[in-house]
């Protein structure tokens, strides 16, 4: 049980510190690196929660896909060196106030609420069960998701392609 706790704190630290870096770092590229750390940490937490398939999906889709896309966008759109960032003073202060209010509330609820938790949750591998579920109980959402992805693919290409105007 002790190793579990140590591993949890390791990944939780990576996730929270990385997430803290996203709003606070002055350089948007470091924000992206903070997001990387947060995503890796969350992937580790999935393993601790016996969601092995989800952890690998997190690595493949988020870090291999979304994060690379975001870094591409960062490099295509902003001057990485710019120190003076989008953060305005007033916005930062009110953001910090909101952060402390929401954070205290959520942590308070998470710790003190009487959750009806199972005492000894069992861990087993989930890939086979998820595969069966996706082709059985959750077949309709699975198919809808594939249609959504196709629409996204076409939509993203149409929106982002360069238009050549003749004028």
């Amino acid at each position: 049980m002790h190793t579990n706790l140590v591993v949890f704190y390791l990944f939780a630290l990576a996730a929270v510190v990385g997430a803290a870096g996203v709003p606070m770092s002055r350089n948007i590229f470091w924000s992206a690196m903070g997001l990387l750390s947060a995503l890796v940490g969350v992937g580790g937490l999935y393993v601790l929660l016996s969601a092995d398939f989800l952890a690998v999906t997190q690595l493949l889709v988020y870090i291999g896909g979304v994060l690379v896309l975001i870094i591409f966008a960062v490099m295509l759109t902003s001057q990485i060196k710019e120190i003076e960032v989008s953060n305005q003073n007033v916005g930062l202060v009110s953001g910090a106030i909101l952060f402390f209010l929401t954070g205290t509330l959520l942590c308070f609820v998470a710790i003190w609420a009487p959750w009806k938790a199972v005492l000894r949750p069992e861990s087993h591998e989930t890939s086979a069960a998820i595969g069966n579920g996706l082709l059985g109980t959750w077949l309709l959402p699975f198919e809808v998701a594939s249609v959504v992805l196709l629409a996204t693919l076409i939509g993203a290409i149409v929106v982002a392609r360069k238009e050549i105007k003749e004028d």
Binding site: L5, A12, A15, A19, A20, V22, P23, I28, S31, A38, L39, V42, L45, L49, S50, A51, L54, T57, V61, Y62, G65, V66, I70, F72, A73, V74, T77, S78, S86, N87, Q88, G91, G95, L98, F99, T102, G103, V109, A110, I111, W115, A117, V118, P121, T126, A129, I130, G133, L134, P141, A145, V148, L149, T152, L153, G155, A156, I157, V159, A160
Partner: protein, 104 residues
Amino acid sequence: MMEHLSLSHFLVVGGLLFCFGLMTVLTRRNAVAMLMGIELILNGANVNLVAFNHYAAGGLSGQIFALFVIVLAAAEAAVGLAIILAIYQMIRNIDTANIASLRQ
């Protein structure tokens, strides 16, 4: 209670991720950074889903739900970044304060 790994540990991490994401969306004016904040919020929600699935509900429904959230987050990121790139091609700026041409 706190010496053992419990539901509360994961809920606290999920809540903190959500708060940082909220703060990013509210304070940043760079559109790409706002998208990063949205990803953080979705990740915080996902941690909660999987934690409740593991500790309270059992079965697989929470994990499948998180899987669909990941799929939709990827779709949202792709379309969002495409829109941002299109705006950048148009006005050479992605500061959300400057994207106001629809206002006129």
